[in-house]
């Protein structure tokens, strides 16, 4: 019980389940054929039913009949988050509300929430996408799956819930919060799979350790993470301390929710895209022009069979690269690099481009630090100043100021070599940075003027 998966070169992938092998393992030619047929249908459907898209396509003098190849997708207009805000709440819906069986909304931390509606067919696609990624991690009908996402309007809770039901696993719908109860339930019900944000999983792990719970001996085997990007260092630490294998998936409310792509156990830094349901493009975030395959750019997604809200060429602002090489796990679906940064979370500090993911990588590589950090940018003195708060690992403290100062200097130097600017490093007590239930907040930009 609770044995972590062996390293990828020792996994016998023939023993792991694949939910829909006739699609997930098919030839690239067939995938492209499926995509083209669906794209043509979807563009027609969207043009006929959504005036917002019809107006934009008319402005660009593009007609659905102009879509003859997959490359023709570039003739279509992009969609940005603002389109969903402008048309709040139901302006982009392609069906009558009678056909919508479930509604969700993003948290709406800036402005109005993004409202999405799913038809019965949409729910079917969604749950299948989740079933696929759960099986990539090894989840089967025999698993007992405990939900630590919040249910409610957030797509993560119900999305994962339906996917697990689709496989036939047993859902334990505990919901977010009440950490001690989660640990008690894992113990009482023999939970084998935990669904959580990585930061909350870490919190559950730490609380369990404090209570003396023996993670090595527990029934838990798999963590399905989502809701926020999972830094590799944090994942490795959770895997080691909870004795489980963790994967995470990618998705966004605007195109469906979780399940757009999921991590298999062969390439832990990549995720297979459900290409029969999503057409991907990788574009230069400034020009919108495609970048060559394998190069970094902004991910643009077109859901291929979405009925409730069809979205064309959604600009995710997430930076990634995509490969179509076959995977050792047996799947042929394209793999995207896990999203580590967004085109819009790039910070410009003293004229230098800085991504929080760069800080994350440096922090993760230093064993004496916990994999948590916060970046504070201010310009009180007139010049931009970057302060990075890090937590010292409880075992890494020495009684000597000389040693602690030297350590701070080392961390500063490592960060400076990657960021190309010198940050102020502030050592904090263990567990002093907030572990959030939702999206971990790492950047506090206090600059004025």
């Amino acid at each position: 019980m609770g044995t972590p998966m062996p390293s990828p070169d020792k996994i016998d992938f023939s023993t792991l389940p694949i939910y829909k092998p006739d699609v997930e393992c098919t030839s690239r030619e067939r995938i492209r054929a499926i995509q083209l047929a669906k794209l043509i249908d979807q563009v027609n459907y969207t043009y006929d039913r959504v005036s917002w898209y019809r107006d934009r396509m008319d402005e660009l003098h593009v007609r659905p009949s102009d879509i003859k190849t997959l490359d023709d997708v570039r003739k279509l207009p992009f969609t940005d988050k603002s389109a969903l805000r402008e048309t709040f709440p139901f302006g982009l819906f392609a069906t009558s509300l009678d056909e919508i069986v479930e509604m969700h909304a993003s948290s709406g931390t800036t402005g109005k929430p993004i409202v999405v509606g799913y038809t019965k067919e949409d729910m079917d696609v969604w749950s299948e996408c989740i079933a696929r990624l759960a099986q990539m991690a090894g989840v089967t009908a025999g698993d007992r799956v405990q939900m630590a996402f919040g249910y409610g309007m957030f797509t993560g809770g119900f999305g994962l819930h339906y996917g697990i039901l689709r496989i036939g696993g047993m859902m334990i719908p505990a919901g977010a919060g009440n950490t001690e109860r989660h640990i008690q339930m894992i113990n009482d019900y023999g939970t084998t799979v935990l669904i959580a944000t990585p930061s909350y999983a870490m919190h559950i792990c730490e609380v369990g350790e404090k209570l003396g719970f023996d993670w090595a001996a527990s029934s838990l085997q798999i963590g399905l993470f989502g809701g926020e990007p999972c830094p590799p260092g944090l994942k490795a630490e959770i895997e080691a301390r909870m004795h489980i294998t963790c994967t995470d998936n990618y998705g966004l409310t605007e195109v469906m929710g979780p399940g757009v792509s999921g991590e298999c156990l062969a390439h832990r830094d990549q995720q297979h895209i459900a290409e029969d349901h999503f057409l991907w493009e990788v574009v230069d975030p400034d020009t919108g022009e495609p970048v060559p395959e394998g190069e970094m750019g902004e991910l643009v997604l077109t859901p291929l069979d979405k009925r409730g809200i069809p979205v064309l060429r959604y600009r995710t602002h997430d930076l990634t690269r995509v490969t179509t090489e076959p995977c050792e796990c047996g799947r042929t679906l394209a793999r995207m690099d896990k999203v580590r940064s967004r085109s819009d979370d790039m910070l410009i500090i003293r004229g230098t481009n800085v991504f929080p993911s760069q800080v994350e990588d440096v922090i993760a590589s230093i064993p004496r630090l916990a994999p948590q950090y916060r970046m504070i940018i201010d310009n009180e003195s007139g010049l931009d100043r970057l302060t990075i708060e890090v937590e010292i690992h409880p075992d890494a403290f020495s009684d000597s100021f000389e040693d602690m100062n030297q350590f701070t200097q080392e961390v500063t130097a490592k960060l400076q070599s990657v960021l190309l600017l010198r940050p102020v490093v502030r050592l904090l007590e263990p567990n002093s940075l907030e572990r959030t239930l939702g999206k971990a907040k790492h950047v506090d930009d206090r600059r004025r003027g």
Partner: protein
Amino acid sequence: MSVSQISVFVESKPGHLGNVLEGFEAKGLSVRGFSAADTGGYGIVRFVVDKPEEALADLRERGFAVRLTKVLCVKLHDRPGELASVLNAMAEAKINVVYCYSLVSTYVVLAVNDIAAAEAALASGTLELVDDAEIAAFPCEKAL
């Protein structure tokens, strides 16, 4: 002969030192002496307490970055020149005192890298060295 010292990593923020002490009170631990020094952002607070192992366990359990170190504790006679004589003895033996502080004024903690050598350097005098048992036993009234 040495005594056990608990060092705690504490951010220089209101209430943080108090958080450390709260647990001591709850566990009935008595502080015999302490020293707090800071760098502006964080500090190292060092305690000599009557039950060091319990204090260590309590702080660990509460998630603090904490370390137990051995330090020398010298009991001085309360007369002029005593402190100087201790430090002179260290200097003559070429032992660097990394930091030092007093418990009550006649009990002085010295952090050195080589406790045995420092102890030997003080052996010729009439100074008394103190161990954990004595720390645990001494009521402040008696020391005064």
